[in-house]
């Protein structure tokens, strides 16, 4: 396990940082520090689970699900691929808290929930095999590819994780600079709405967003992906 992580740290995802003020990554001893663009327009983020090529594919696919377009920035800008990488590396990715005793009934009706044996990590690894060189394709062809896999478990997971990466607190690696929250006017973990909750009827009330890091001490935050 340790050996595996050490190897993984050699893989990086390079993100365009033109609209990014900087993001939080973790040093080898898991102390958070703020990383700013290392070259003029990009930053290199160490990967925990994906290979570089997997990360590029996930970043490209997430961008087709939640594109950067005239309505505003998308998954690329929010760092969704980084979010997903961390989730897969953490307890969720390896089904740490799922009931995983057999027998497995892989094709059970939907009302029993996912009954398969594969962990999110395996679902991603397998699913990504069908998207070879995806990030190199023009966007129309990327959309065609995604339409072909639209009904797969992998795609539904990717879509769900993309939404999570857009709108979870930046502490988890996505929603960089609260870009997702700004898109929808969500103010984040704002302590009190006491004075406003029964006012502003019929008009948008959009207080400036805050993140957990604005409201708590960094060292008190324990994102679940960093747990065993």
């Amino acid at each position: 396990m340790v050996c595996c992580c050490a190897m993984r740290r050699r893989e990086f995802l390079t993100l365009s940082a033109t609209s990014i003020g900087g993001m939080l990554v973790y040093s080898l001893d898991r102390k958070p520090f703020r990383l700013f663009a290392q070259t003029e327009h990009s930053l290199r983020i160490p990967l925990r689970f994906f290979t570089q090529s997997e990360a590029l594919t996930v970043a490209a696919a997430a961008s087709r699900i939640f594109p950067d377009d005239e309505t505003g920035p998308g998954a690329q800008e929010a760092g969704v691929a980084v979010y997903i990488d961390r989730q897969l590396a953490g307890p969720w990715g390896r089904d740490r808290h799922r009931y995983t005793q057999g027998p497995f009934e892989e094709h059970a009706p939907a009302e029993f929930g996912y009954q398969g044996k594969a962990t999110p990590r395996q679902i991603y690894r397998d699913g990504l095999k069908d998207l070879k060189d995806f990030d190199q394709l023009p966007s129309v062809e990327q959309d065609n590819k995604l339409r072909q896999i639209e009904t797969t478990l992998f795609f539904s997971l990717l879509r769900r994780n993309t939404i999570e990466g857009m709108f979870s607190d930046p502490v988890h690696g996505g929603n960089i600079d609260m870009v997702g929250w700004q898109l929808i006017g969500y103010p984040g973990p704002r302590m009190s709405n006491y004075a406003d909750v029964d006012k502003h009827f019929g008009e948008a009330f959009r207080p400036k967003p805050v993140s957990l890091r604005d409201t708590s001490e960094d060292n008190s935050l324990r994102p679940s992906e960093d747990e065993e």
Partner: protein, 587 residues
């Protein structure tokens, strides 16, 4: 196995009912009390920095760890049940405080009819109207007997609400259909956010009787009769699945734990997984001797006790009795046996999802802030010409909508589920979508029950609890009827496009419904059809008491927490005033 020094009382489970019983017995007697909680310790002040939707509401950090134990589900007794592998239709809590830490705080009383459902239904509509395969029965207490205990529970929690019936006098603006109450709520109703206010106006215009939902989330600072002070709610929108950051929401850790910690005669042992209640059946009388459990170091120990209180929610109360071979398990073929029968799960569906012109600012709210109507609850409305019995409440909650769970809903006219077209519509709809919920009753049926699963095991190798559960035609027709009412309300509120609930099909273990599961160790007036008497005392083992929703004979549409706290007070009174003087059957 090591035997620990005996205690007077052992309480299995450190949630609402277990801690309330510990506090009541511990402060009104010198009994030595050990509370065994399998989860982690918790303090009231530990929720700073936990307003994190991903970790708490999506990854469900405060819930039981399913890798250790789950339940299996099937729709009828001919099927092989499958385990709930990741959370779906309900969310059991764990740790000190249990699910009471991360509830929404909605605290209605039950309708008086609920306690005598069988006799009142037969009286009014005749026995022929009951579904052929029903197993509905009366509770062993009536509303009138419960009323003073409701008052105590409301005062302990500091419920914010507007009374609709004080001593028989109906009061406009409250729930005029509720049972009589001897006193008003301890604190005034919570603030009403925009979406709920829209609902209130529309309901009034349609001739209904909207009222603010009763809330355990304080509208103003309050000191309860135990001397516990809590501050007013900030409407931050992080209640359900979260602990309250400011202590405005009543939780076991901020109402009961501080009192328990002052008492030298009560100890809480966390990390204690109880595996069996040990019962001595050799003599003339059945006597529970104690419990065995794995302690936090993984060592199995025996804890002897004079009095044993089971307070570990419907699922574990039932499973522990089955694993301990106490009482006769319910047999669906013969209808004999009582342990496990009458499994019910409150219906909760998004009856109408409406898309509005104006933004709702729906990030603001609290778990119980909302407006309900009970015009179609219980037998408030005439059922003579309807195809179902019972009913429930329609409600416009403003719990504080969070983005991961709620982003992506688009009006039915938009077909895309990803890409630019979807994103545009989802961004436009995000703060313009409101859901009218229906919370309805689930009747008890002979074919809905709990037993032990023959295939799947927990981490100790014990069989999992198995649910055999499905909806009846009564529930399906009720939901159909209520969905039409919800759509009518949504349109009257100004909903441009409205999606109506497609209808109940099979019980869906994958869709979150509510954590209101009843039955398994139900109360009654005779040991032939119930596990406990009206004091929640086991019929065959008088020094064993079973608390909580497992004792409720059938789901009564309203949320059960207030009622189970009231029942716990009633049991505590009976133990202190009668049982301790003469330990025997109280009925």
């Amino acid at each position: 196995m090591k035997t620990l020094p005996a205690v007077d009382v052992v309480i299995v489970g450190g949630g609402w009912t277990g801690l309330l019983m510990a506090k009541e017995l511990g402060s009104r007697s010198r009994l030595s009390i050990a509370v065994l909680e399998r989860g982690k310790p918790r303090e009231a002040g530990e929720y700073a920095g936990t307003m994190d939707e991903l970790d708490y509401a999506v990854r469900l950090r405060m819930m039981q760890d399913l890798s250790q134990e789950t339940v299996t589900v099937r729709h009828d007794s001919t099927q092989r049940a499958l385990p709930i592998r990741q959370y779906g239709s309900f969310l059991p809590g764990t740790g000190v405080g249990g699910a009471g830490e991360h509830w929404n705080g909605i605290t209605p009383r039950l309708l008086p009819d609920s306690f005598e459902l069988l006799s009142r239904t037969v009286e009014k509509y005749g026995a022929r109207r009951l579904p052929a395969d029903h197993s509905i029965q009366n509770w062993a207490v009536t509303y009138d007997e419960m009323e003073p205990y409701y008052v105590r529970a409301e005062r302990m929690l500091g419920i914010s609400g507007k009374a609709g019936n004080i001593n028989g006098k109906k009061i406009d603006g409250g729930n005029i259909f509720e049972g009589w109450r001897s006193a008003d709520y301890p604190t005034p109703p919570t603030k009403i956010p925009y979406f709920s206010a829209l609902f209130s106006d529309a309901a009034k215009a349609l001739g209904y009787h909207p009222y603010p939902s009763p809330a355990a989330n304080l509208s103003e600072p309050y000191t309860n009769p135990d001397g516990i002070s809590r501050s007013a709610c900030f409407y931050c929108g992080f209640c359900e699945r979260f602990g309250c950051m400011v202590g405005a929401k009543a939780q076991p850790t901020n109402t009961l734990l501080p009192l328990i910690q002052e008492r030298k005669n009560i100890s809480i042992r966390s990390g204690a997984s109880v595996r069996r209640v040990v019962c001595d059946t050799a003599g003339k009388k059945n006597i529970a001797r104690g419990v065995t459990y794995f302690d936090e170091k993984g060592e199995e120990v025996f804890q002897p006790a004079e009095l044993i209180v089971m307070a570990s929610w419907s699922l574990n109360n039932t499973r522990l009795l089955l694993l301990s071979a106490i009482g006769e398990p319910y047999d669906v073929e013969s209808g004999k046996g009582t342990v496990g029968r009458n499994l019910t799960h409150q219906i909760s569906v998004g009856a109408a999802t409406a898309f509005f012109e104006k933004p709702l600012n729906r990030f603001m709210g609290s778990g119980a802030a909302g407006v309900s109507i009970s015009d179609f609850d219980g037998d408030v409305f005439d059922h003579s010409k309807l195809a179902f019995l019972g009913g429930g409440h329609l409600v416009a909650m403003s719990p504080g909508y969070r983005p991961i769970a709620n982003f992506g809903a688009v009006p039915p006219s938009v077909k895309a589920a990803w890409g630019s077209a979807w994103k545009k519509a989802a961004l436009e709809s995000y703060d313009r979508t409101g859901i009218i919920l229906f919370g309805g009753e689930h009747l008890a049926y002979k074919n809905n029950y709990m037993d032990l699963d023959p295939t799947y095991k927990d981490r100790f190798g014990d069989p999992l609890l198995r649910f055999t559960i499905n909806w009846g035609d009564n529930e399906r027709k009720m939901v159909e009827f209520m969905t039409l009412k919800a759509v009518e309300l949504a349109r009257a509120m100004g909903g441009k496009e409205v999606i109506s609930f497609p209808g109940l099909k099979n019980y869906d273990a994958n869709r979150y419904q509510s954590t209101h599961i009843q039955g398994g160790t139900i109360m009654g007036t005779s040991p032939d059809h119930s596990v406990v008497n009206s004091y929640l005392q086991h019929w065959q083992v008088p020094n064993l008491f079973v608390l909580g929703a497992s004792t409720i004979p059938q789901n009564p549409s309203a949320h059960p927490t207030l009622t189970i706290l009231a029942l716990t007070y009633r049991t505590a009174d009976a133990i202190v005033s009668r049982y301790l003087k003469s330990p025997s059957l109280l009925v």
